[in-house]
Amino acid sequence: MMQTVPAGATTRASRARSVLPGVRITLGFTLAYLTILVAIPLSTLFVRSARMGWSGFLSAATSPRAIAAYRLSIGSSVTAALVNGVFGLLVAWVLTRYRFTGRAIADALVDLPFALPTAVAGVALTTLYSQNGLMGALLAPHGIKVAYTPLGITVALTFIGLPFVVRSVQPVLETLPGEIEEAAATLGADRWQTFLRVTLPALMPALVAGVSLSFARAIGEYGSVVFISGNMPGLTEIAPLLIMSKLEQYDYGGATAIAVVMLLVSAVILVSAGMIQRRAARRAA
């Protein structure tokens, strides 16, 4: 679904003789590998949910509680991914275009959400944003509650998703010559025009890839969110928590029904992101 390689690469390789040897073997291996690692485990989901029949599936997948959970999970994941799209781009920009003391440290900081066990991240964020935490106490007088609200969930998802955008955009920014921007300026473009017409289109494929990775990461996140969400039924219950609570009742069918819906929604979003990305790549080329 997601590819950072230009879209033409695979078709070209299979059609014409490649300069590199072993196409058949590597292609065969890749397909077998993906089948064993991804397709088979995911297909068991569909098999399990198929066992419960249509009416059972529908009633489990479309209960008001499940719908509230999808809305919350997808809404907060999309918001977090978009926030990361804007600010991750900014971070990547500053890290590649400016030289400043502490840049190496700032650069390393970006990766930390990758490495941190999510439960640790969740506990740390909750400590900060609960009513008597450092940030929570500052925000409380303004009537802003973060921990145990949907806002807190979005904060946690933004945290874990940031590296995906920065690390997707950064290498492209590094190879984008500054001369192009200078050329745009000499041709009379102001800063906004340069950014919107010249830089952004070139970055678009990488940015969309980063944002969709950030979304994909957020939609399945459980470990950090359960600490900051408060898990109030119907209010701050994310879909993965609902799956856990179904499993606690040994309702495997109900759990997979919700998982299948989440999977399909994610697939639709990721495939459309892939299409946007490819279109942007063509335009940028």
Partner: protein, 339 residues
């Protein structure tokens, strides 16, 4: 693939039946799949049992432990984790292993004394030092000025005991009126600002985050508070009535038979009822079970008027169905509490 597995199974069976298990003198390992707060308890017991078994039979036994949420552990066993014995937080989880995994007989709970529960506990209230809100009993938990911390019973087995303890109190207080109990539970959960997914999360919320006035907790964990969470920070309040929390144990017969460990696994579970194991249980703040052990090792525990899940709820299967299944009383009460 399937025929290969069949051959492998047949060979294993042949190998295990050829040598009678009690004649095996080589070292043997057992896997005890347990729930979270028993880690330290079983560490002590496993060492003591290994010494006892060595003395009795000359055989070395090593008991491996696995800990996690009770439900997650049960699902692992259903999915094929080869536990010789399970020691979980509630009978419902072992019932499900029996029903779905078919590795435990359906009548497992009658196979060992006291509902197959060697160590019991009860549900108590942990409050901040000096008890600033003056919390004495369950009735204080529905006061509008009190915030209560307890995990989500939909995701935490321990939290289900908390809920049932409160429900049982309300029943007793109101001439067994279900409507009154429901109202009490509704008010209580209205005072819960955060429903953590598990007991550990709730403890963190109460202790580290400083949220809430009272944490509903298992007695064995509440009594550990001075040692684990720092002295002079919390007080334990014993309510007037509470539930007898019974975390049961069972032999996973099919697995033990296949592994040829039936004798040693059964001896291990029986050992849990001996004086030495009951003393270790009391050391880790688990209440002894059975009048004899209670008389011997129960002296340090506060007197609590306890009811059992069988008496008030007709057993776990029924309690689970009525209260915690989707659309059950907890869900109904919650959709009311929100409004």
């Amino acid at each position: 693939m399937r025929s290969l597995t069949r051959i492998a199974v047949a060979l294993t069976l042949a190998a295990s039946t050829a040598v009678p298990s009690h004649a095996q003198k080589g070292p043997v390992t057992l896997l005890n799949v347990s729930y979270d707060p028993t880690r330290e308890l079983y560490k002590d017991i496993n060492g003591a049992f290994a010494r006892e078994w060595k003395r009795r039979t000359g055989q070395d036994v090593e008991i491996k432990q696995s800990h996690g949420g009770s439900g997650a552990q049960a699902r692992a066993v259903i999915d094929g984790l080869e536990a010789d014995v399970v020691t979980l937080g509630l009978a419902y989880d072992i019932d499900e292993i029996a029903a779905r995994g078919k590795t435990i007989p359906a009548n497992w709970q009658s196979k060992l004394p006291h509902n197959s529960t060697p160590f019991a506990s009860t549900i108590v209230l942990l409050v901040r030092k000096g008890n600033p809100k003056g919390i004495k009993d369950w009735s204080d938990l529905v006061r509008p000025d009190v915030q209560v911390i307890t995990p989500n019973p939909k995701t935490s087995g321990g939290a289900r005991w908390n809920y049932l303890a409160a429900w049982g109190y309300a029943l007793r207080k109101n001439n067994n009126s279900d409507a009154a109990a429901r109202d009490f539970i509704r008010k209580l959960y209205k005072n819960v600002p955060v429903l953590d997914a598990g007991a550990r999360g709730s403890t963190t919320t109460f202790v580290e985050r400083g949220i809430g006035d009272v944490l509903i907790a298992w007695e064995n964990e509440a009594l550990l508070a001075p040692r684990e969470l720092g002295p002079d920070k919390f007080d334990v309040v014993i309510p007037s009535v509470s539930i007898l929390a019974e975390p049961p144990v069972a032999l996973v017969e099919e697995v033990a038979r296949k592994r040829g460990t039936t004798d040693v696994a059964r001896a291990y579970l029986q050992y849990l009822y001996t004086d030495s194991a009951q003393a270790l249980g009391a050391k880790h703040y688990f209440r002894p079970t059975g009048p004899r052990s209670l008389a011997k090792f129960g002296g340090s525990f506060a007197k609590v008027n306890q009811f059992t899940i069988a008496e008030l709820f007709g057993g776990w299967a029924k309690a689970q169905r009525t209260h915690f299944a989707d659309g059950g009383v907890f869900d109904q009460v919650y959709s009311l509490a929100k409004r």
